[in-house]
Structures are given as C-alpha cells and as structure tokens.
C-alpha cells in the first residue's frame, strides 16, 4: 500500500507557541487514518498545516509525491484535498445549493454525485434553497461533508465530524463515512469519539504535546485495553 500523504519532521509555530514539534506520519492510499489524542495535543493544527492554513515552520509535507508545505491553501485544495473543519464553516448567508455550487469548483453540479449525497443526506435536498445558517448543527455537518465530497478528492481531511451531534446523527454519519471509505477514499480524520474512530479507522495515530506518540493498526489498539488506558487515559470499552 503506497502512502498518499507523508509528513516528515513538521514543526508549526503559532505566534510564540511551538505547537507541532516534529510530526512524522504517513496516510496510506485508500485507507482511513484516525488521529487521536487529548485536547490541545495538536490534531487540528496538523490538519490545518497540511491544508496550508498555517504555515509549517520546517519539515516536509508531500502529497502523492509532490511537496506541498510551501504551497498556498487554494493550490493544495486544487491538488485534490477536501477539508471539513471542526467548525463546519458552512457559509451561513448562502443557501445549501450555493454552498455546494461553490464547492464544485470546476463546473456545474454533477447530478449523479448529488443523488448519491442526497441518499445519505436527504435533509440537504429538502432544504436545497434554504440558507445554510438556518440549518441545525447536524444538518450543517452534513453540508460540510457534502461540500468536501461533491467532487472526487484524492484526500479528505476531516476534523471531529461527530462533535456535538446527537447519537442518531452520529450513527448515520458513521455509515456515510463508511460508504465513502468503501468507494476508495483516503481519509485523515481527527476524532474524539472512540466508538466512531474504531468503526471507521484502519490505522491510528495518537498525538501528545505536538508529537506522534503511537502509530499502528486500529484493530490492535481496539483490542489492547492497557494500551488505550496508557495512551488515551481511558479504554474504548469504557467509552461505549
């Protein structure tokens, strides 16, 4: 399995704070890699640094062999990287349709892709011409994910998609992401919900204090309770 995304010795400073302190990670093609860790460990900063939203102070980031650490965010997006931020960041003054029209950068909306998305997110069809700002939190998250998958992407960076959502919506989102995974997507996902992480993840990376402190298969971590307790402070079983 080839690695689609690679980070080597990546450091990121935000103001006078040294957030990422030498990150080395690889995201294999066609797999879901979960990025776990406590609050403030540097997970969101990692995604934002990959996306070019914060500039890496040193280190190398490569996507399908191309160096991207010095590229501007729009150029990284145009290489086929979709980004779902933690805040969802839907354009609340725009309608659902307009949000997706903007996301479909290179042409009109593809009806087949839209129908596939509506299969998961029927609310988006229902509220097609409604302002995104009037959607519920779950519906906004659907729109945010739909925006990232409206066109084929090489890599999806997804930041805590289940945060603050009702359990029923979390379950449905997991099903949706599984389907995206089955279609061969490569995903790097930050997640605090261990159940969701276990359901979706092929690989797992655990961060602490701006470094990767564990890497391996999700199945191995899920079956190793002492390791979970040591790295994450609680077990997956306790979280269910």
């Amino acid at each position: 399995m080839t690695d689609l995304l690679k980070l080597s010795g990546v450091h990121t400073h935000i103001g006078r704070y040294h957030i990422l302190q030498g990150i080395d990670l690889a995201v294999p093609q066609g797999q879901v890699t979960m990025l776990l860790g406590r609050n403030g460990a540097g997970k969101t900063t990692t995604l934002r640094t990959i996306m070019g939203l914060w500039q890496a102070s040193s280190g190398e980031i490569s996507l399908a062999g191309d160096r991207i650490e010095n590229r501007a965010t729009p150029d990284i997006a145009r290489l086929g990287v979709g980004y779902v931020p933690e805040s969802m960041a839907v354009f609340s003054d725009l309608t659902v349709k307009e949000n997706l029209v903007l996301a479909a950068r290179d042409g009109p909306l593809d009806d087949t892709q839209l129908d596939w998305i509506f299969g998961f997110f029927p609310a988006l069809r229902r509220f097609w011409l409604s302002r995104a700002g009037s959607l519920s939190g779950g519906q906004k998250q659907m729109l945010s994910i739909a925006r990232a998958i409206i066109e084929p992407r090489k890599l999806l960076l997804i930041d805590e998609p289940t945060k603050g959502l009702a359990p029923a919506i979390v379950m449905a989102l997991i099903e949706c992401l599984k389907e995206i995974k089955r279609k061969g997507a490569t995903i790097l996902m930050v997640e605090q919900n261990f159940f969701a992480a276990r359901e979706l993840g092929d690989n797992v990376l655990i961060m602490d204090n701006g470094t990767i402190v564990h890497r391996g298969g999700m199945a191995a971590l899920a079956s190793d309770v002492p390791l979970q307790e040591r790295l994450l402070g609680l077990s997956l079983e306790a979280h269910q």
């Binding site: 996306m51 354009f91 029209v101 998961f120 449905a172």
Partner: protein, 336 residues
C-alpha cells in the same frame, strides 16, 4: 445506505424588514414637522439623490472591509482623485459642457466619469499592493498606513492642481428642475438617483446571481474556507478593492458636480460621512450601506431644514441611535 435522522423542520427564516422601513418611517414622520408638502417632497428627493451619491462612494469601502478585513481610512482619496481627474476632461471641453444638447454634454461627461473610474481603480491597485499588502490582519497599522496615504494623496493634489477651489459647473442640460405642481426636483438629482439605483441593482445582481458574487459573499463570511475550497481569494480581494476604488472615483465626480466645485479637502469631509454610513449599515453589507446612506442623507436634509444648529452633529447622533438599537449595524454580515 442509511438515511440520516435529521429531517427536523427548519425554522422559517425571518425577513428582517425593520431597517428597510426605517427611512420610510422617518420620511413619513417628517411630513407634519415640515408642514409644507412641496418642501417635504423637495427635501426627500434631495435626500434620495444625496444618499445615492454617498452610497456609490461608500459601497466599495463596505465590501473592502467585509471581504478583506481592511480598514481603509484613505478611501476618501479615491473620491478626490476621481473628481480632479474629471476636470482634466471637463475643463478643455467647457464649451461642450455648456452646450444646450444633452448628447453633447453626455459625450464629454461620460468619458470624464470613465477616466476618473479608471484612474481611481488603478490607484486602488497601487494602494493595495504598496500600503495594504504588508499590513493585512493588522488593523492599527492599516489605519496608520491608509491615513498616511490619504494625507500624501491630498498633498499631491494640492501640488498638482494648487490650493484653490476648482469650479466644476453642471452641464447645461442637467441644470434646472422638473416642475411637478408646486414641487421642483433638480434634474441632476434625478440623474444621481437613477445612477445610484442602477449601481445598487448591478451590485445586487452580481452578488446574488453570479458565481463571482457567491465567492464575494462567502469570502466576506469566511475567507479561509473559500481558500480551502480552492479559490485564490487574494485576486478576488484585489478586484473588489479596485472596483470599490473606481466606484469611489465615480462618486467623487458626481459629488463634485453636485457641489459644482472640486477641492482636495473634500476627501476628508467625505471620509467621515462614508464611515458613518458603513458603520450604520453593518460592515460588509451592501443593503445596509444603501439604507444607511439614505438615512444619513435624510437626517442631513431634514435636520438642516428643521434644526440647522443640529446639522453638524446630526449624523453622529443618528449613528449612536442606530448602534444602540443594533450594535453591529442595520445588517450584520461579518462576525468581526
């Protein structure tokens, strides 16, 4: 495939019409206070014309703040430069301006306005690249840089054209008034209303009916996410900045014709006025800017007629009242 359990009905979006009703209510309230219907109609027409000119000058500023988060205290320079550049065309063709034919007048006026817009837009490009690019995201430095730019531009105008006030007479065919019974409405004010309204409609169409407009509206709300979708928003910033500068130049020509004179300090006088309009309207909101401009003009005209001594502070009082009612302006667009 699972259907998400998220089909709760949406709350009906509330149409916020209160700001739209505000100038209408103010105008109606003035009828008994002014007493004479003809005076009221004349003042109302004057307010609408003045409001449209202020809107043209302020619209660029509100978009620039909303999209680029730039506090451009030098916006007034584009207004003054626009007015001065127009004299370069209007002065040599003074005879054509004084001709009795509307078409001959317009044949001079239109190129003068277009040249003003082109020069102001080009100056906008220079200002953005030289003064603003190094201070993106730093409001205090933006204020210092753009205020400095305004002073430099003003002194350059003094150096090039001299300190004297330059007359800019109205074209013959735009002098005089349309008489409707007892009411006289100046022809130029009607033209100003039509141009202002046309620009407002054009901006609304671009913002609401085109992908470029979608990008601008999305960029006003969240620039970072627009970039994460793959759009090079810096180029869009520059285009909006130049368009805003060009509109300010057009507004400068219209204002100079309204006052029938040009002087370098007009930029300072108008900067305060257009900032009041932009703040009242809500930073980044074109609709708010449109209503704010009409309100400011109404307060100036009605206030000047009823309470001349209050005219100097009337706009500040209006801004205080609006911000006490809506602290982020009539229509808040940005989260800033």
């Amino acid at each position: 495939m699972t259907e998400l359990a998220a089909n709760d009905p949406l709350p009906k979006p509330k149409r916020d019409v209160a700001p739209i009703l505000l100038p209408i209510a103010l105008a109606l309230l003035m009828i008994p206070l002014i007493g004479s219907t003809s005076s009221w109609l004349t003042l109302t027409a004057a307010s609408l014309a003045m409001g449209m000119m202020i809107f043209i000058m302020a619209s660029g500023l509100t978009l620039v703040f909303g999209l680029m988060d730039v506090l451009n205290f030098g916006h007034g320079a584009f207004i003054a430069v626009g007015a001065y550049v127009a004299t370069l065309v209007l002065a040599p063709f003074a005879a054509s301006i004084q001709a009795d034919s509307l078409w001959v007048n317009l044949a001079v006026l239109a190129p003068a306005a277009l040249l003003s817009m082109a020069v102001s837009g080009a100056l906008g490009l220079l200002v953005e690249r030289v003064l603003i690019l190094p201070v993106y995201g730093q409001h205090l430095k933006q204020i210092l840089m753009t205020t400095g730019g305004l002073i430099v531009a003003e002194q350059m105008l003094y150096a090039l054209w001299g300190p004297q006030i330059i007359p800019m007479p109205l074209p013959s065919s735009l002098r005089g008034s349309f008489i409707l019974g007892d009411v006289a409405i100046a022809k130029y004010r009607v033209l100003a209303m039509l141009i202002g309204l046309a620009i407002f409609i054009a901006i609304q169409l671009v913002l609401n009916r085109s992908k470029l407009g979608l990008l601008i509206r999305a960029g006003v709300e969240n620039r970072e996410m627009v970039e994460a979708l793959g759009y090079r928003i810096r180029r869009l910033f520059l285009g909006v900045f130049m368009t805003g500068s060009a509109l300010a130049g057009l507004g400068g020509v219209m204002w100079a014709l309204y006052r029938e004179q040009v002087h370098a300090s007009m930029s300072e006088d108008l900067t305060v006025l257009i900032f009041i309009v932009v703040i009242i309207g809500g930073l980044g909101s074109i609709g708010g800017c449109f209503i704010g401009a009409i309100l400011v003009a109404m307060v100036a005209n009605y206030g000047g007629f009823l309470l001349p001594k209050l005219a100097l502070v009337s706009n500040i009082l209006l801004m205080v009242a609006i911000l006490m009612w809506r602290p982020r302006g009539l229509y808040a667009v940005t989260s800033r």
